[in-house]
Each structure stands twice: as structure tokens, then as C-alpha cells.
């Protein structure tokens, strides 16, 4: 990837699947671009919706969240809750005019070192093509990061979180864990709380 932009990527990996897959990629000596920095969590269910936004606000060009395959979460359904948080992040990015491809949530089981490598290699390439955060978006990077910081704060706020609780409840009740459905639920339940992001209030 010489000559191309080398992006800064922050990853949140669950201990049981993706972190283990990353380790097993190492054991198998599979090589991938050195752009990812990893924060280990026990489960992607721990992913506070503000973490990815905080990461982007603080200087990351992209965020990766890696968990167990749907239906295979070590804690039963933590990765579905992660999808709810992820939907909020995507929604927020859209509202701020940040390319949604800067945030990826994907899965690799403990046995899938090569799959992890594939995901990270592809994602790194894709983000490298986008270039530095803000530049591709055609705005002022510093201003954008300010907005992202405010969005992270909003994601820690009671209004948005109550919306997420409702979205999560409906997801569990409905039993449809497709990304599209979850995104619909989150957009629906959090729209009002996110309005502040669109206005000049920021």
C-alpha cells in the first residue's frame, strides 16, 4: 500500500471470538496491514455507542467492531445489542455527513483466523482509499471531530439511550436480528434525540 494513505483504525474485539481469531491469525503467521489497534472487551455487548464516536473524535480514521457470529455470542445475545449500538453509530455518522464506511461491525469465530485477516485487510484498504477523516468528507476535519465529540456526548445522554433501550426491547421481542431491521428500529426510536445533531446547535 505504498504511496497510499495509511489510516489509523481502532478496533473493539470480543474476547471469545474475534480477539481469539486475531490471535490465531498470529499463530498461523497470516499477515495483514499494521493499521489496527485493539481494545479487548469480554463481549461486543459491552460496546457503548459512544466508544466508536469517541474514537473517531479522538483521531481514528475508522472503527472496527469484531464479535462472534450472530447466534454464536458467548453471552447468548450480546452481539445483537452491539448491532443496536452500531446502528446508532451509523445513523449518527450519516447525520454528520461522515462516510458510513468508516465504521464496520463484523464477525469472526475463534476458529477463523484467516477470515479475520480478510476482514481487516479489506477494511484497511477501503479506509485507505477514503483517506483521512474529514478530507474525504470535504469538510474541515477539526470541526468534524468537534461534532463527533459532541455526538459521543449525545450518545452518553439519557435521551438517546432510552431510545436505544426501546429499540433493543423491540428487537428482542420481534426476534428479527437483521441489520436492516435493527437500523430501522434505532432510526425510529432515536430520531428525536438525534435531532440536535442536525441543527446548528452543535
Amino acid at each position: 500500500m505504498s504511496g497510499q494513505y495509511s489510516p489509523k483504525i481502532l478496533g473493539f474485539l470480543c474476547n471469545w471470538c474475534c480477539y481469539t481469531a486475531a490471535d490465531s491469525a498470529g499463530v498461523g503467521r497470516y499477515q495483514y496491514p499494521p493499521n489496527l489497534r485493539v481494545i479487548r472487551m469480554m463481549c461486543t455487548g459491552r460496546l457503548d455507542p459512544s466508544f466508536p464516536l469517541e474514537g473517531l473524535a479522538s483521531g481514528a480514521d475508522a472503527i472496527f467492531v469484531g464479535g462472534c457470529h450472530p447466534g454464536e455470542c458467548h453471552y447468548i445475545d450480546g452481539n445483537y445489542h452491539a448491532l443496536v449500538s452500531a446502528a446508532l453509530v451509523h445513523e449518527t455518522l450519516a447525520r454528520l455527513g461522515v462516510n458510513k464506511e468508516r465504521f464496520l461491525i463484523d464477525w469472526a469465530s475463534a476458529a477463523e483466523g484467516p477470515n479475520f485477516v480478510k476482514i481487516i485487510t479489506r477494511f484497511t484498504k477501503q479506509v485507505a482509499e477514503l483517506g483521512p477523516l474529514g478530507v474525504a468528507e470535504g469538510g474541515n476535519p477539526a470541526e468534524l471531530r468537534e461534532k463527533l465529540r459532541a455526538a459521543a456526548e449525545t450518545a452518553r445522554g439519557r435521551k438517546v439511550r432510552l431510545g436505544l433501550i426501546n429499540a433493543s426491547k423491540e428487537m428482542m421481542k420481534g426476534g428479527d436480528f437483521s441489520r436492516q431491521t435493527i437500523a430501522g428500529l434505532v432510526t425510529d426510536k432515536c430520531a428525536k434525540a438525534l435531532e440536535a445533531l442536525d441543527t446548528g446547535a452543535l
Binding site: 490471535d23 455470542c73 439511550r161
Partner: protein
């Protein structure tokens, strides 16, 4: 064993076991025994435990650093109060009976007091007498006063009595002057110890192929012919060349290396008719690493057969061969000659009868494994029988029992085998001892104690950072000293250093010392991965009086140096970032209270075949209740379809014996025609629902063993199903048990190996089919000696003593012909329905296709695992791409699954023979009984915590918690949430959903993660 002995009370039964041999098998069995509640005397002939595995650079198939995965076990054994390590010790006699043995042990003097020696190494520095360094295959020197290797356990030096000038000539004595600790004891004497033990486990390992045999291939005559052990040391960072592969003759990097297989194995001329079972694998490992060291190096491997029959081994070999562009030649070991202008001339004959010669820069001899040199002494001392090759004699159905009751055998002394099989046997033998001595469990053990925890709540953070080289695993890519230097300036850091191996016992001592000296209250280790090494460092923290939650690890090996091998600068930067983030998190770590939870003292075993029944019995014999669930009406499984083993015995007799024992065992409940419909809970507290004939039953158990087995692959190839002349080996077994197995007209039988296996439908080798073909071929030949039998194979994988069958089969006149995967045999139907089928195959020697009319065509089909998916999903355990359960660690935890309290054995793990299945089932039973024997578990204290000030009692946490571990209660008039810490697993969903951020997670706190995010940004 006399009746009086059996009937007398348990009061005089010993709760101690002697383990002879401190290699990986011996150490593992010692740890397992300690975990099961027994005192262990671990005897080691040399000055330190570790055995051969400590001398390996890497391990196949993962190329994991050998010492890195072994060292934590050595350290654990060294610090276990119930394991007494007796170095320089040998078992002389064993008297008495099972439960009440009296072992006589001779302990040679170390001449340096183990208790006093600080391991500083001054004695070696001052010692005048140089000796060969055995650890480095004598490719380097050490001194008469020395330590076997840097990470040795015990971390104590000793003096070679044969070499020491003071002991032999009464001169020198410099070491005594240099030793500040005053540990030198020239008057140390040999002592004889009488030790009462209840059982003995023999784990003396293997011996080396004699120098004469090695010399036949130039070793010792030509400098650049190396033994595989020598080559291994050259590859290793702690070896004589610091990890550079250099030709001994000119210290240049060899550009063309030949690996010669079967040196001292499969060789009647040296008496070792058996296959050593490990050399094919280690040669591929060494060849891969030689390429890693020098990507331009050309490598050729000479095989008779490629025997990579272990789980995942074929895939690893194929990948290594492809990625490294290895040249593979099928030939008996070539002749090696020295040529005048340098280099080694190899001459060999290929299977087409042609002769070839070629020059190589270096030759590595893949030497086989022999019985230990002192096998006969050991046999005399313990009164056990040996087989014709001087390995311990065992039986198919009692693979770990020697001929003397109460004396068990594991590892290579039981037969040549690799590390995972040795570790498996270690677990199995521990379980058998625990069963035999169950009345005396805990009678001779003490509880491990730690110093009182220092209260650090009012201290400012004082972080210590230890950066590990991991030999060259990290240090070869990442600039470790610069990472350590970088860490020095990070906020809160008061101490940093770098270590060659952070996990070695001496480093643990150093860690404790450093924590005290610098009053550290947080520890960051930048090394391999927390998944394997966090427990080790956490135990060290407890030794230093610190709460184990004050620990954080930066993963700079598995997720850094190993995956960015060609980008040292980027990897170094990544390592610095990882350390910075770890330190940032460490500043927010707090001491967390430990909790002890009770364990339901019973086991669930799923599957009632050979593996499941053996596991159930081995658990029940240890005194714990077992529920055995079998989906069929009858117990017995697939083994019932085998009509003979390779010694001519009937497996169904053994199965009948097992079924009777299972049915009558007071502690085993059998549910047949039953299915598991749900499993929940965690180690110590599982709840399983079993559907039995329409009703459903709930079972509470502490552990679960999965033995769901496999079944034969169903072929559609080679006219199977459409011609009556085509059958599988199991069909043939059935016929062979009948009165008239063969129609009188049968003249020609053809067998085809690997039907459906090794890249056909199944990607893997099924391990047992070659042995089955040989067995049935010999049975046929015995029945009808003039029968013509042709076996078409890819590689005859008659590993271990099964090679005897291969030789017998050839002697009986069975014809073997190798086929290539791109040129398979072809089968066409005869004219009539009852006419023979025509089999055509390529014959390498004739260089043409030949055709035979087969009156019987037998297909050797592989083994398919029973669908593991449903159970895997219920238990949240991983399965491999081939649908076998994935063990927690392929080398060192071969029967544990990644979820604590769950274990696997039998065909559900991978294809294996009956004796291997039994040993593995016994191992699973042993591992499973550890939590049961302990009675309590101490889960990681990473639970959620609710701040009542912030909680608004909304109940979202309660609604989303998958474990009902958080509850709403009334605090006066207000509703609040609280965590039930015993049920909490620490996933953190509650924290991520709490509307007021009132919930935080132990070790994975909001502040800690935010600090990591912000530290990330500083890079």
C-alpha cells in the same frame, strides 16, 4: 493385589503419586494430579524439568513458540505446594502394592543448595571447567557449574560432578568464593529416599537413535549433516547461533537444505521397525522455519510416506508445502557423501526405479524416537513388562496401564507420539490414579497460600511495564528495547524493563522482587496474549501481594510481531501504541474482590460409545455422579461394528464389559433414547434438559463431556452401491466375522485408500483407515493365503507400532501401489452383475496403467463427525471447518474446550483409534473432575456494579441481562438495580444500555476504555 489390601480401610492408602520423568507429559500429569487433590513427587533425572519440549524452538502445526507455551506449566509446577520436584533423581525400586507402594529413590547431589541459590549465575561465570552444553546439543559450551537453560525450573544452578575440578582434583573452588548467597556445597552427598506412594506414573520420555545409525547418513562424519535436534537449536533464539541457521563448516547460510525422513525409524537394520510418528511433522515445521529464516533457501524433503495424520496436520502440511515451495520426493533416505569442493552429494532412487543424485549445502536428519536408554533399568525397578522395542507394554483397552497394577505409563515411553497425545495421556493417567486412590483424595495435600493483599486504594498509580522479547518471536521483528524505553516516559510508569522470556520462572521471581522494590501497584506485561498468559502473571501478582485485577497485558506478539513480520518499523510503532493504551487503562484498574462459588459435584457425559462410556466410568470411579445420555437405545456406538482389533481380539467383548460396568455402576445414571435439548449455565453450575421418550428431564451438573462420536463416510465413488463386489472396510469386517467370509471363487481383492478423505469430500485424513486396511488384509491372507490382495494408497499411514502390520502385510505378499491424487484408480463394472469389477491404476514402476479384475473391491472410507452444531451453539463452543470440536489449545489443552467446564473426547474431537479414544476419554474425565474435586470455582471478578446514586430503576438492565444476574429491588420507595455477582458473567450489556451510565464493569470500566481510546489517539 491381595484381598486383605483391598478390604482394609482407606486409612493406610497413600494420597500421593510418584511421576517418573519431568518432560511435558510428566509435568502435565503432575499438575492434573495436584488439581485432582493428590500430592505428587515429580522425579527428574537431569537438573531441571522441561524435557525435550523445552529444547524445541517451535511446535507443529501452529509454529507456536515451544518454551512460551511450556514455561507457564513449568512455573506452575514449580510453585505448586503439592508438587515436590526431585531433580537428579531416579527410581531404584518399587515395593508393595497399589495404594501402598514404597518407592526407593536415589537423588544425586546438586552441590548447590536449591533453597539458597538465587540463580544469579556468578558460579558459571567463575567456573574454570568448560563442558558441552547438552541443552544446545553440545553445539556450545557451558561450565561445570551451570543451569540447564535460562528458564529452567527449579531456577537453581548445579555442578557437574564428573567435570568439576574441585570435586575431582581438589583444586579451584572459585564458585564457592564467587557465590554471594553461599549456596555451594562441595560436601553434598547422594541420598536415598523412601517415599510411600499410592501409584506411579512412568513418563521418562524417549531415547536417541544411536550414533552408528546416524553415522550411516553422514552425521558425525560430515560437518554439515545435522541431526534434527541440532537444527532445532540452530533455529532457536536462545540457541548457539542466536537463532541463525548457519552451516557448521563455514558459518554461511545454507541455500539448499535436504531433510531426510525415517532415520532410525521403519528400519529393520537397526531394529526399529516401528514408525516414530512425529518426524514427518517436525520436519515440515523445521523446513518452514528454515524458509522463514532465509526466504531464498531451497528445501527438499525426502519421504517414504508422508504421515501427517493428526488433527489439522494435513492442512498445515499442504499450506506449508505450497507457501514455501517445498520439493517433496518419495524415496527411502538417500545416501550422503561428502564432495571435495564442499557440499553434500545425495543419491537416491525414486519409485519409478530411477536413480538420481544432487548436491546440497546442508542435510538435516529427521531422527526417530527410541525407547529411553535406561528402559530396562526402569522396567526392573518398577517391575513392568516391555515390548520387543523396549517401550512399556500396554494393551489396546488399557492403553495407560502397565503390566503391574498401580503403575501407569504416558508419553513416548508408551509408544512414539507427539506432544498433544502425550498431554492427553498425562490427563488420562492422572484420572486413573485419582480413581484408584479416590479414598485418599486430599489426604496429603495442602492449600496454596498467598501473602496478604496490599491495600493500594489510597496509593497513586505506580505502573511497572515489562516488555518481552519472546526469544525472537517478538524481538526478531519489534525493536523491544525501544518499546521499553518508550514506556518509561508514559504517565504513571515508574519502572520498565525488557526480558528475553517474561514467562520463565526466574522472571516471575524478578517480577515479585521488582513489585516490592519499586512498590508497583499496577503491572503491564507486553508480550504474547492475555488469553494464554494472563493467569500466570496474575498468580505472580498474588505472590507479590497485589490483587490480580491490577494487571493488564499488551498483545505485541500474536497480534503484532507475528502478523507484521516483514514490517519491523510499523510493528514497533504498533507495539508502542499497544503499550501506551495498556498503561492508560492500567491507571484506572482497581482491586476487585474475589468470589467463591460452589460446584455441583456431578458430570454430564453426552454420547454412550467407547469414548462416552470410558469417560463416564473414569469420572464415576473418582467418586462423582455421572449422567450418561445416549441417543440410541443401546450403548456401544460405532465400535460394535469392528469385528477384530489388530491383535485379533474382539472389540465387542470390551464394549460388553464396559456396558455392564456402566449399567451397574452405582454413580452412573444412563438415559438412552435420549436427546439433549438445552444446556445453560457455566462451569460448576450447568443445567441441562434431556428429552427421554417424550418426557423431559432437568439435570444439574458441574461439568460436561462431549463424546458424540462420528460415523463412516458414505461413499458414492467406485461403484459403491451399484455393484455387489464393492464394499467398505466395515462391510468387510462384518463378513470376516461370518462363518464363510469369502465366496470360494475369490481370487483377487483390491483395496482403495482415502476414499472420500484427504481433499476428496473430506479435507482431512481419517487416521485409522490405513491400519484398518492392513488389519483386514492380514485377516484375509490368514484365511486364504493364496488370495491376491492389492492395496492402492496415497501414503501408508501405519504410524507407531502399526508399522509392524505394514511389514507383516508385505511379507504375506500383499501388493502395495501408490496412486497420485491427480491420477486416481478407476473402477468399471464387469459384464454381469456378479462378474468382477475392473480396477485400473497407474503403476509407477511399470510407468503405465495396469488393470486387474477384482472379485472384491474394498473402499477405505474416512470418518465423519456427528453434527456438532446444535450442541456447539448451546454451549457456545467453537467447531473446526471440518466440524470437529475445537479444543482450547491444540498442544497443551487437547481435551478442554474453550468454555470452562466442557471437554471433548473420541471421534467428536478427531478420527482416532480405539486405544487413543480410551486414553482421550480418560483424559477428559480427569480434566472434568478437577472442578468437581476442588468443590468451588473462583470466577474472574469482572462483574457489573451499579452506582445507586445514578440508577433510576428503569429496569433495562434486568430486561437485557442474559443471565438474570441483575435485579430491581425497592430501596424504600425508589427502585434500584443490583448485581447478583455469582450469576454475572461480565458481558457488559447492562452497562452499554444503562440510560444514566450508572453501571460499570470490573476491569472493563468506562473510564478505562475511554482512557484506552484517548491513548490510542495520542499515537
Amino acid at each position: 493385589m491381595n484381598n486383605h489390601g483391598q478390604l482394609s480401610s482407606a486409612s493406610d492408602m497413600s494420597g500421593a503419586v510418584m511421576v517418573v520423568g519431568g518432560g511435558v507429559a510428566g509435568v502435565q500429569t503432575a499438575l492434573d494430579l495436584s488439581g485432582l487433590g493428590y500430592k505428587v513427587y515429580l522425579l527428574e533425572k537431569s537438573g531441571a524439568i522441561g524435557g525435550v519440549m523445552a529444547r524445541l524452538d517451535k511446535t507443529f502445526p501452529t509454529n507456536d513458540c515451544s518454551l512460551c507455551i511450556l514455561a507457564p506449566k513449568l512455573v506452575e509446577a514449580g510453585r505448586d505446594p503439592n508438587i515436590e520436584i526431585l531433580t537428579k533423581s531416579e527410581l531404584i525400586t518399587l515395593q508393595g502394592e497399589p495404594g501402598r507402594f514404597r518407592a526407593t529413590v536415589k537423588k544425586q547431589p546438586r552441590y548447590i543448595d536449591e533453597e539458597v541459590c538465587t540463580g544469579c549465575g556468578q558460579c558459571t561465570l567463575y567456573c574454570l571447567k568448560e563442558i558441552g552444553d547438552g541443552y544446545n546439543e553440545n553445539l556450545e559450551h557451558t561450565h561445570a557449574a551451570h543451569i540447564d537453560y535460562a528458564q529452567a525450573v527449579p531456577t537453581s544452578y548445579h555442578i557437574d560432578a564428573k567435570a568439576c575440578l574441585r570435586l575431582n582434583y581438589d583444586t579451584c573452588g572459585l564458585c564457592a568464593v564467587a557465590c554471594q548467597a553461599k549456596a555451594i556445597r562441595f560436601d553434598d552427598k547422594e541420598v536415598t529416599l523412601e517415599i510411600p506412594v499410592g501409584a506411579v506414573i512412568m513418563a521418562p520420555g524417549f531415547g536417541r537413535i544411536s550414533k552408528d545409525i546416524m553415522a550411516k547418513y553422514g552425521w558425525g562424519r560430515f560437518k554439515d549433516v545435522l541431526s534434527a535436534f541440532e537444527h532445532e537449536r540452530l533455529m532457536c533464539a536462545s540457541g548457539p547461533t542466536k537463532g541463525e541457521i548457519l552451516r557448521p563448516s563455514d558459518h554461511q547460510h545454507p541455500k539448499k537444505i535436504a531433510f531426510l525422513q525415517c532415520i532410525g525409524s521403519r528400519d529393520e537394520t537397526c531394529g526399529n521397525n516401528y514408525c516414530s510418528s512425529v518426524c514427518c511433522m517436525y520436519a515440515i515445521k523445521q523446513a518452514s522455519l528454515a524458509r522463514e529464516h532465509d526466504p531464498e533457501c531451497e528445501i527438499t524433503l525426502f519421504y517414504i510416506d508422508i504421515r501427517t495424520h493428526g488433527k489439522g496436520f494435513d492442512a498445515a502440511r499442504e499450506r506449508a508445502t505450497r507457501d514455501n515451495n517445498f520439493r517433496v520426493i518419495y524415496a527411502r533416505p538417500p545416501k550422503v557423501e561428502n564432495v571435495l569442493d564442499g557440499g553434500l552429494l545425495l543419491t537416491w532412487a525414486t519409485e519409478d526405479g530411477r536413480h538420481h543424485y544432487e548436491k546440497f549445502d546442508m542435510v538435516v536428519l529427521s531422527q526417530g524416537l527410541e525407547a529411553p536408554d535406561d528402559a530396562q533399568d526402569l522396567a526392573r525397578a518398577t517391575g513392568i513388562d516391555l515390548n520387543e522395542y523396549l517401550f512399556a507394554q500396554t494393551d489396546t483397552y488399557t492403553p495407560l496401564a502397565t503390566s503391574r497394577p498401580g503403575v501407569y505409563v504416558i508419553g513416548a515411553f508408551q509408544g512414539p507420539k507427539d506432544i498433544p497425545d502425550s498431554v492427553t495421556q498425562a490427563g488420562g493417567a492422572a484420572a486413573l490414579c485419582a480413581g484408584q486412590l479416590s479414598a485418599a483424595r486430599g489426604s496429603e495435600t495442602v492449600k496454596a497460600s498467598f501473602p496478604e493483599e496490599r491495600d493500594i486504594s489510597s496509593e497513586e498509580p505506580r505502573v511497572g511495564v515489562f516488555v518481552c522479547h519472546c526469544g525472537i518471536n517478538i524481538g526478531g521483528v519489534v525493536d523491544v528495547p525501544s518499546v521499553a524505553a518508550y514506556a518509561k516516559d508514559l504517565p504513571g510508569v515508574v519502572y520498565t524493563t525488557d526480558n528475553l522470556y517474561s514467562c520463565s520462572q526466574d522472571t516471575q521471581g524478578l517480577l515479585v522482587e521488582t513489585i516490592h522494590k519499586h512498590r508497583l501497584n499496577r503491572l503491564v506485561v507486553a508480550a504474547c496474549t492475555p488469553r494464554t498468559h494472563e493467569p500466570l502473571f496474575q498468580a505472580t501478582m498474588r505472590d507479590a501481594g497485589l490483587n490480580r485485577s491490577l494487571f493488564e497485558m499488551a498483545n505485541i506478539r500474536d497480534q503484532c510481531s507475528w502478523v507484521h513480520m516483514h514490517e519491523p518499523e510499523a510493528a514497533t510503532q504498533k507495539a508502542k501504541d499497544a503499550v501506551r493504551m495498556a498503561v492508560a487503562k492500567a491507571l484506572h484498574l482497581t482491586a476487585l474482590a474475589e468470589q467463591e462459588l460452589p460446584v455441583t459435584p456431578s458430570a454430564l457425559v453426552i454420547g454412550g460409545g467407547l469414548a462416552g462410556m470410558t469417560a463416564a466410568l473414569t469420572i464415576a470411579d473418582q467418586g462423582f455422579a455421572v449422567t450418561l445420555v445416549e441417543r440410541n437405545t443401546a450403548l456401544g456406538g460405532q465400535t460394535l461394528r469392528l469385528t477384530a482389533d489388530r491383535h485379533g481380539n474382539e472389540p465387542k467383548k470390551e464394549i460388553a464389559r464396559l456396558v455392564a460396568r456402566v449399567r451397574h455402576h452405582p454413580r452412573i445414571t444412563v438415559h438412552s433414547s435420549a436427546a439433549v435439548t438445552g444446556i445453560s449455565g457455566y462451569v460448576g453450575n450447568f443445567t441441562t434438559t434431556v428429552a427421554v421418550e417424550g418426557a423431559s428431564e432437568v439435570i444439574n451438573h458441574g461439568v460436561a463431556v462431549l463424546a458424540i462420536g462420528g460415523r463412516p463416510y458414505e461413499p458414492s465413488q467406485y461403484l459403491y452401491g451399484s455393484s455387489a463386489k464393492v464394499l467398505t472396510q466395515l462391510d468387510l469386517e462384518k463378513r470376516l466375522a461370518q462363518k464363510r467370509p469369502l465366496p470360494p471363487s475369490t481370487k483377487q481383492v483390491v483395496m482403495i485408500q482415502c476414499v472420500g478423505s484427504r481433499g476428496d469430500d473430506l479435507s482431512y485424513c481419517s487416521r485409522v483407515c490405513c491400519g484398518q486396511a492392513l488389519k483386514n488384509g492380514i485377516r484375509l491372507k490368514t484365511l486364504q493365503p493364496d488370495l491376491r490382495i492389492t492395496i492402492l494408497y496415497r501414503d501408508m499411514r501405519s504410524y507407531g507400532f502399526m508399522e509392524d502390520d505394514y511389514r507383516t502385510a508385505r511379507q504375506l505378499g500383499i501388493i502395495f501401489s501408490r496412486y497420485q491424487v491427480d491420477n486416481k484408480p478407476e473402477v468399471t463394472a464387469g459384464r454381469g452383475k456378479s462378474s468382477p469389477v475392473r480396477v485400473s491404476y497407474y503403476d509407477a514402476l511399470l510407468a503405465d496403467r495396469v488393470e486387474v479384475a477384482a472379485d472384491m473391491l474394498v473402499l477405505s472410507v474416512g470418518i465423519v463427525p456427528e453434527g456438532p452444531t446444535v450442541l456447539a451453539k448451546m454451549l457456545k463452543v467453537a467447531v473446526t471447518a471440518d466440524h470437529f470440536f475445537l479444543e482450547a489449545h491444540v498442544k497443551l489443552q487437547p481435551v478442554d474446550l474453550a468454555v470452562d467446564g466442557t471437554y471433548v473426547c473420541g471421534l467428536a474431537h478427531s478420527p482416532k483409534s480405539m486405544d487413543e479414544t480410551i486414553a482421550q476419554a480418560q483424559a477428559a474425565a480427569g480434566r472434568a473432575c478437577q472442578p468437581l474435586a476442588k468443590g468451588t470455582i473462583t470466577p474472574a471478578p469482572i462483574v457489573s456494579k451499579v452506582d445507586p446514586e445514578l440508577c433510576i430503576g428503569c429496569g433495562a438492565c434486568e430486561a437485557f441481562c442474559p443471565y438474570k444476574a441483575i435485579q430491581i429491588y425497592k430501596d424504600g420507595k425508589v427502585r434500584r438495580a443490583r448485581t447478583l455477582t455469582a450469576s454475572c458473567k461480565g458481558c457488559g450489556v447492562c452497562a452499554a444500555r444503562c440510560p444514566t451510565m450508572a453501571i460499570d464493569m470490573g476491569r472493563f470500566t468506562l473510564d478505562g476504555i475511554m482512557a484506552q481510546i484517548h491513548a490510542f489517539a495520542e499515537g
